[in-house]
């Protein structure tokens, strides 16, 4: 974060005695004029969250009132227990967390192994395999979802029920390794100096040891980025769970919430209480690891440039 542009420019202009009276008057404001823009913008960004929270503690009659009641007469926390009583949100939360965490771990292991091999080893078929992986990166999920559904169904019936339709395993296995993750880590590994790895090899370390002991410690920023992006993707995924899971106790939060909305479409207080409960864990994770999430998203943006 370098110094800001506006004050620096203002200083220069004054020093070069180009400063107009208007500029000077503006600089005498006790606060930056940008606050006048940012405060309304921030209110607009925050307002949906605030209104969500307010509605979640209102009574049904307060929600069904026009004009809307901006300040509830009493804080009705019973909405939360009522919502919990009519749908297993704790279960949804646990399912979401299990799916996201296991997917992240699988991706870190599988994409590291594959990305490293594509970056450093010469083996038969490397170029062809890598080309196939890159091709899948470009295809939208909608093209593959129908066969993915059929394959998952078949696997559940003939191989292992835990990865079949209607099990949370079905939400993990198809995303256990991603083309993006392999590509991303391969690009990263190629930027590392190979000398450390070579000297470790000369000392007699196996290739796996070199990867684990020498390369991975240098790769923590890239791994953190991949973990953050995979986590966000998995947590917010909706279309695939909607297709693959129908029984309530296997649902993740977005799907559980959508199903709950279908059943309680006009009980706004319950719906908003459920929504708050679905939001808070992710907001908490997001703010605790804000640096990683922000850096990861910024990194994809900058990498794309």
């Amino acid at each position: 974060m370098s110094a800001t542009s506006a004050p620096a420019r203002g200083d220069l202009r004054q020093r070069a005695s180009h400063g107009s009276p208007a500029t000077r008057r503006r600089r005498r404001l006790p606060f930056s004029p940008w606050h006048l823009v940012l405060i309304p913008a921030t209110i607009a960004l925050i307002f949906p969250f605030a209104w969500l929270l307010i509605t979640s503690v209102e009574t049904p009659s307060e929600t069904l009132h026009f004009p809307p009641i901006l300040i509830p007469h009493a804080i009705r926390l019973a909405n939360y227990s009522d919502a919990l009583a009519s749908a297993p949100f704790v279960r949804f939360l646990v399912n979401s967390a299990v799916v996201a965490v296991v997917t992240v771990l699988c991706n870190l292991v599988l994409c590291t192994l594959a990305g490293y091999a594509f970056a450093r080893f010469r083996f038969l078929g490397r170029t062809a395999l890598f080309a196939v992986i890159m091709a899948t990166l470009m295809v939208p999920f909608q093209v593959t979802m129908i066969p993915q559904f059929i394959i998952t169904k078949w696997l559940g019936v003939h191989v292992l029920a835990g990865v079949g339709i209607n099990h949370i395993g079905a939400l993990i296995l198809p995303n256990a390794a991603t083309a993006f993750g392999i590509f991303f880590l391969r690009q990263f590994f190629r930027t590392l100096p190979i000398e450390y790895e070579e000297s470790a090899r000369v000392d007699g370390a196996s290739r796996l040891t070199v990867l684990v002991r020498v390369v991975l410690p240098l790769a923590t920023p890239a791994l953190a980025t991949l973990a953050a992006l995979t986590f966000l993707d998995s947590w917010n995924n909706f279309l695939w769970p909607l297709i693959a899971v129908t029984s309530t106790n296997q649902m993740t939060l977005p799907l559980g919430l959508a199903t709950f909305q279908g059943a309680h479409a006009t009980e706004w207080n319950l719906l908003m209480a459920a929504n708050v409960m679905s939001l808070v864990p992710m907001l908490a994770v997001f703010f605790i690891a804000q640096r990683y999430f922000i850096r990861s998203v910024a990194a994809t943006g900058l990498a794309g440039t």
């Binding site: 594959a114 129908i146 917010n236 919430l257 706004w268 907001l283 997001f286 910024a298």
Partner: protein, 312 residues
């Protein structure tokens, strides 16, 4: 350490054990061993389905029934399906509004937030928070905000003397409500990308422009904006790909209605595949969507290249 490795067979002891050991240590073996688990997942769930759904798009296949080849029948059906025409129209209108809208909001906020003033971290956090909310949570909140009878937006409208609106219940307004909710949901992402790019703009160039007598607006137009062009191109492409795949918000808020007013391509595809179980027809639509994405992305890169400045 090397002195103690007596147990290891040296080159002179190259018996069968040595051969096996060397094979186990080769780039061939390790390469395949390392890539196999990850690549297997991608081949099974990513690559094979691409081919399979291409085949299915030439078949009349469903979840239960047999699959017979029908040639181009699915594609011909698509060309004459009025809902597909509507879906294409809605998808393009949505994309044309959502992508520039998000980019303008994101650029404006990022420029405003790219300075060290009091409370800046609060402002930034407010924008980032929209990234943590799932599409489903976002859609539920916005359905409530825009509720025709009890919604707070209609209340605000009545306060400023505007007529009450039906919003998501109105065929002429529903799509625009979805545009609004998704712009809000993507604001944080656009702000992060633009803020990162803004922080890469060298201070010296801005100062040079100021010395040459350029005002703040001209400096922004002529120096900052061109330096942001790679981020702009990235956002344009990324947001477009996501916009063409709009589904979650439509599924939750309108189910494609009212009167198909919000039926977008992916919603119709989902409907055909998993509500009507016309896998063949749905696959044809999916491939059409793929084609649209490729064409639009290629055009964006072609056009974008002319306006993009890379410093390195």
């Amino acid at each position: 350490m090397t002195a103690n490795t007596v147990a290891r067979p040296g080159p002179r002891q190259a018996g069968r054990a040595g051969l096996v050991r060397r094979a186990l240590d080769s780039e061939q073996f390790n390469g395949w061993a390392f890539v196999t688990p990850g690549v297997a997942v991608i081949l099974l769930f990513g690559a094979a389905p691409i081919v399979w759904s291409a085949v299915m798009s030439f078949q009349k296949s469903s979840l239960f029934g047999s699959s017979a080849f029908v040639g181009l029948a699915n594609y011909r059906k698509m060309a004459h399906d009025p809902v597909v025409a509507q879906a294409i129209q809605h998808t393009l209108i949505y994309t044309a509004l959502f992508v520039p809208g998000t980019m303008i909001v994101g650029l404006f906020l990022a420029v405003a937030m790219n300075r060290k003033i009091r409370g800046i971290s609060i402002y930034r956090t407010a924008a980032y928070a929209t990234m943590a909310i799932s599409t489903i949570s976002e859609a539920i909140v916005f359905i409530w905000l825009f509720d025709p009878s009890y919604g707070i937006v209609n209340y605000a409208f009545s306060k400023v003397g505007l007529p009450q609106q039906q919003f998501l219940n109105s065929p002429s307004e529903a799509l625009y409500v979805i545009v609004a909710m998704t712009i809000w949901g993507w604001t944080g992402f656009a702000v992060v990308v633009y803020l990162a790019a803004l922080q890469g703009v060298p201070q010296s160039l801005l100062e040079a422009a100021a010395i040459d007598g350029a005002g703040p607006w001209r400096t922004f137009r002529r120096v900052t904006l061109p330096l942001l062009s790679p981020a702009t191109l990235f956002l344009a492409v990324w947001l477009t790909i996501n916009a063409l795949q709009l589904f979650d918000e439509v599924y939750l808020s309108t189910q494609g209605g009212p009167l198909n007013a919000t039926t977008v391509l992916v919603y119709y595809l989902y409907n055909q595949a998993f509500e009507q179980f016309n896998f063949g027809y749905a696959s044809a639509i999916a491939y059409f969507l793929f084609l649209v994405i490729i064409v639009v992305t290629v055009i964006q890169f072609r056009v974008g290249r002319r306006f993009t400045y890379y410093r390195s």
